[in-house]
Amino acid sequence: MNNQLQIQNLHVKIGDKSILNGVDFSVGKGETHAIMGPNGSGKSTLAQSLFSHPNYEKTAGQILFEGKDITQSPADEIARLGMLLAFQYPQSISGVTVTNLLKLAARQRAELPKIPLAEFSANVSKLATSMQLPEEFLTRSLNEGFSGGEKKKAEVLQLATLQPRLAVFDETDSGLDVDSLKVVSEKINELRNLGTSVVIITHYQRILQYINPDYVHVMYKGRIVKSGSSDLAEEIEKRGYSNINHEYTNHTNYTNETNL
């Protein structure tokens, strides 16, 4: 099988509420996929449950990463396999700097080259500068008192340092001004050039002007309802989600299923 990530018939619920109702989705090595969809369609649930957030219960389906079944693996195991998530709402950790965390995290990734700590810190600092983050950013507590934009940049900085084999960006573009969006996109493109596969979850087509995806998928009511090339993103931008969803729902009976 050539797929690096393969999600088959994934069903997920939170408490009694079904959120994902049979997601089928695959990413080939080095590919970039965008998952779009309106609020509440299950995009972020997909991201969180890919990494086994304890609040999300997988009731059916399977997730394979590089042939290994990770459906029930805890988040740390998944990360050590080389799949990382840039959070939509990153947590703040008092007294821990982004460099502290990265030092620990880098040690968990066997495939990263071992470099002296001083050099590692210098690299992180260089990266921060290139992302137009203020100098004191690296000495502040992680995400504590960061602006929305700084939080998103901090996530991208972490992934850029840890160089995963597959990176999921969960609404990394939301709340970013144009300059920040460019900086963030540049870093994501650099990762792609290193061979990292990328999944971008977004509401808007905006970020896709800077990152040209190989595939675009539309998610609606807990399923991927349409897949296509990057043209699909432009179509969504022009016609809105409702038309695309409407078109889809007219051809299937799946709305009944989602009410289960």
């Binding site: 990494f51 740390d76 990360a79 990382l84 959070f87 950790i93 008092s94 007294g95 502290n100 620990l104």
Partner: protein, 473 residues
């Protein structure tokens, strides 16, 4: 209950680490009967060949001890039985000026807790306390030449009677202050005496390790620090005690005199075994433009009552209090800070951090008093508590008494939990669950940790992680 039972719930790693607190031989040439009588106080003084003034002071303190009631607040002391406590033991006589002279079994213990290494590397002097008497002392010659005195307090009574008569339990912690101060006055033994003459800056920290090693022993060391005008010093005290089954009592007194424009930092990391009652009195008198800094980490013990106090008596005097307390299963930590602003433009800053887990109770108890006339004074108090579970307790009891209008005051109290989302976030970076929790705990302690000497910060971190293993996740 034997040691095996106590350790039963610990992980294997914790077991291995715990070994360093066990297995030390009891070593003394003289041991008094248990319980406290006038005769025992006389005997202690006689054994030490003390001058008459000290003998009288001890007896007067004993009278206060008998009359004073137990404190009716703080931790429950109902189970503390004075009649079962051994108030004095004397270890082998003689002091050791060099490491080579120290007996092998004592050396091994000190090796395990890392003293000699620290001493060799960077410390200006060491007075170690093995049971009740300082057994090892040394001060680098350069400080001695400048008139710095650093010795155990018993030696100081013999050699520097004028200083001791003037400062020992007189106006800082008087013998009649409260029941445990009186008890201490009657049976005190050992401790450190530090005298820094005017304008001398001791730029390397001076360090002492205290260690209680005999079963059911009391430890009543007395530390007296005098920093003369314009001088400065950093004094460090580390304490560990092995696991024993009967309740031990530790009741130390620390008295610090910070003169005009002088500065003193007092750092302590305490890790008493789980059966120790740790009831201390630590107080500093700070004169004009003087600075007193208290930095403390409190681990272990069964019950702790500790409220370092700064009396700011001179204009512009300043106090910094930084403390971290860890209360695990069966432990009750009642700690805090007391600051009396007794002069204009005095300032104080208090940061208190506590972690309660596995049913432990930690209480911040603070007194902040600004006297009439202490105008322009400032104070800020910050209390942060971390509770990783639902069965532990954290209390904040700040008393504030202000008798002056022109003052600036701030008080913040926060109680935090380790959230599932935080742990998930860190795990998604590849950290295990235990690593994630450790990192959150470390981050919480960071403001205090960064003020500790590196080796202490590392040790405290390690001990806290060890304590919390098994009770979390």
């Amino acid at each position: 209950m034997n040691i095996e039972t106590i350790l039963n719930n610990k992980t294997k790693e914790a077991d291995l680490q715990r070994e360093i607190f066990t297995g030390a031989p009891e070593r003394f040439v003289h041991k008094a009967k248990t319980g406290l009588t006038r005769e025992i106080v006389e005997e202690i003084s006689w054994q030490k060949s003390e001058p008459d003034w000290m003998r009288k002071k001890r007896l007067m303190a004993f009278d206060f001890f008998i009359k004073k009631p137990l404190p009716m607040w703080g931790v429950d002391l109902g189970e503390l039985d004075f009649s079962k406590i051994n108030f004095y033991q004397r270890t082998e006589t003689g002091r050791y000026k060099s490491w080579d002279e120290v007996p092998l079994d004592i050396k091994q213990i000190y090796d395990k807790i890392g003293v000699p290494k620290a001493e060799r590397e960077m410390l200006a002097g060491v007075v170690g306390q093995y049971d009740s008497e300082g057994f090892y002392q040394k001060l680098k010659k350069q400080w001695e030449d400048k008139g710095v005195i650093f010795c155990d307090t018993d030696t100081a009574v013999q050699k520097y009677p004028d200083l001791l008569k003037q400062y020992f339990m007189t106006r800082c912690v008087p013998i009649g202050d409260h029941k445990f101060a009186a008890l201490h006055g009657a049976v005190w033994s050992g401790g450190s005496f530090l005298y820094v003459p005017a304008s001398v800056h001791v730029d390397l920290p001076l360090q002492t390790y205290f260690r209680m090693n005999a079963k059911s022993s009391g430890q009543f060391e007395h530390t007296l620090i005098i920093i003369e005008e314009g001088a400065s010093a950093h004094y460090i005290e580390g304490c560990t005690a092995p696991i024993y089954n009967t309740d031990s009592l530790h009741s130390a007194v620390v008295e610090i005199f910070v003169k005009k424009h002088a500065r003193c930092r007092y750092t302590t990391v305490q890790n008493w075994s789980k059966d120790v009652y740790n009831l201390n009195t630590k107080r500093a008198i700070v004169e004009e433009e003087g600075i007193q800094e208290w930095v403390g980490g409190s681990l272990g013990s069964k019950k702790t009552m500790l409220y370092p106090c700064s009396m700011l008596v001179g204009r512009g005097a300043r106090a910094e209090h930084l403390n971290i307390a860890l209360a695990g299963p069966g432990q009750h930590k009642d700690t805090g800070a007391k600051v009396i602003h007794g002069a204009p433009y005095t300032s104080s800053n208090i940061i208190s951090k506590s972690i309660s887990f596995g049913g432990g109770i930690s209480t911040y108890r603070g007194l902040l008093q600004i006297a009439k006339g202490a105008h322009g004074s400032k104070s800020h108090v910050q209390c942060d508590a971390l509770m990783p579970d639902n069965i532990s307790q954290s209390n904040t009891i700040p008393y504030i008494k202000i008798f002056e209008d022109d003052v600036t005051l701030g008080h913040e109290a926060k109680i935090g939990r380790i959230s599932e989302d935080q742990v998930f976030y860190l795990m998604s970076r590849g950290l295990t669950e235990a690593q994630s929790i450790n990192l959150i705990v470390q981050g919480f302690m960071e403001p205090v940790m960064k003020e500790l000497p590196l080796e202490y910060a590392v040790e405290l971190n390690r001990l806290i992680q060890l304590e919390m293993i098994g009770s979390l996740g």
